[in-house]
Amino acid sequence: MSGTMNLTLKVWRQKNKNDKGAFATYQVKDISPDMSFLEMFDVLNEQLISKGETPIAFDHDCREGICGMCSMYINGRPHGPLKGVTTCQLHMRSFHDGDTIVVEPWRAQAFPVIKDLVVDRSSFDRIIASGGFVSVNTGNTKDANNILIGKEDADEAFSAAACIGCGACVAACKNASAMLFVSAKISQLAMLPQGDPERKRRAENMVETMDEEGFGSCTNTGACSAECPKEISLEHIARMNREYFGAKFTSQNVK
């Protein structure tokens, strides 16, 4: 076939949490440039299955850039070489025939490898859960414009809410810090009247859980935002800092 490519893949293989793991090298042939990176992995896995080997475990779900599952650290960058793109939305045309591609799992104390490229990101879930509930009026349908929100605030909250919880920020950060993620989760509610009643408690608890989970501390390198598929801005981290200290110095919580 013309225009297709042959590639060498170095993929991290690890049987389970306790296994030491190592790189394995594979060759794939006749890869179409229009395939997504995950489809290329499907081809490789078919190849492995037909040879009777264990296929490579990797996370994926929506394959359209919205679920955040497809964690792959490709050639030294989370989600590969493109900006603002998840692995599932990365296409083989971003590579060249004959390339060697190194694929590793996210590396962080708080994201232990379960198998091959799959890591356990439930620490993110525990951070979100610790943020607690948000008071919302229920009952009869309300007028849609009952609570007025300024356009700028709505936009800013929405840009934070675009975070898909993929963990690329942690993977990219030299400190394995989760502050971009946590700041997005704090920001998205801190700017809206709906999140206001629990605002202080949420900031305090989420930061506390983030620390307990063993993520590192941000040193403002900006690698997270540069690699975030949703291009979450560092402004949210500054807002998280304000929210946290504002809460700590004024809330009723004396602990």
């Binding site: 960058r77 590396r107 304000r242």
Partner: protein
């Protein structure tokens, strides 16, 4: 008081303290530099030596210097502790890394440690000797107030607390510890000048990230001001170390 401890022992709390001490140290750099610039005067060190005396005896300055020493120690300790914790947050490193961040921002720990070592060398040379050494050289200045003519003579064997400054018959007489001479002698050695220049380059890199990073940690990120802070930080990180480095180079060649 429990909450105070929780706040400042959290990751954000430690970052806040690092930022506050760091920015305070930036203001100290400016004051220190303004003092040092007096080494450029060709007055045999009269201005510099009387200034040094003032800085080491004025009660207000002495109080602030306690804050200064604790800031240096606190900033260094917190920075190193955070760097250690951050290393532990990624126990297994990547086989290949393609960084999308600025080099200085990833190496603040290394840069900071080098600066700390420099401060130890620097203080044990000038600060420690000035405060403690018994045979520290003195200099006597006689300034004719009408003509401005200065004549000097070296003094030695004086008690380390001695300081004289009075005016009689139109002549100002000053006897002070000759820190100026110490600097001159130190910076006659090439390796010493090189050490200082390299250390200032290290400081420049540390500041180029640290200055703006400190504001971000304080939560000061705003469309209107952030670009100005970044710009000012860059200018600051180049000019201040450059001016510091110019002094030993100037003294070496003069």
């Amino acid at each position: 008081m429990n909450w105070v401890i929780t706040t400042f022992s959290s990751s954000l709390g430690k970052k806040l303290l690092t930022a506050l001490t760091g920015l305070f140290l930036c203001t100290f750099l400016v004051v220190h530099l303004l003092g040092n610039l007096q080494l450029f005067y060709s007055d045999e060190g009269l201005a510099f030596n009387t200034y040094a005396r003032f800085m080491t005896t004025n009660p207000l300055i002495k109080t602030v210097s306690i804050l200064l020493y604790s800031s240096i120690l606190g900033h260094a300790f917190l920075g190193l502790y955070l760097a250690y914790k951050n290393k532990k947050a990624r126990p297994v490193s990547y086989a290949s890394v393609n960084n999308q961040s600025v080099w200085a921002s990833r190496n603040m720990g290394v840069l900071g440690t080098m600066i700390l070592l420099f401060i130890v060398v620097h203080m044990s040379d000038f600060w420690y000797e000035y405060h403690n050494e018994d045979g520290f050289p003195f200099k006597e200045y006689k300034v004719e107030l009408l003509t401005g003519k200065v004549s000097t003579s070296a003094k030695s064997g004086l008690d380390k607390g001695v300081y004289v400054d009075y005016v009689q018959d139109g002549v100002r007489t000053v006897i002070a510890k000759d820190l100026f001479l110490e600097c001159k002698e130190a910076f006659e050695q090439l390796w010493y000048v090189v050490l200082y220049v390299i250390s200032m380059a290290v400081l420049a890199f540390h500041l180029s990230h640290g200055f703006q990073s400190g504001f971000q940690t304080l939560g000061l990120n705003h469309k209107k001001y952030t670009s100005a802070i970044k710009w000012f930080g860059l200018v600051f990180s180049i000019l201040i170390p450059l001016a510091f480095a110019a002094i030993p180079v100037y003294m070496y060649f003069s």
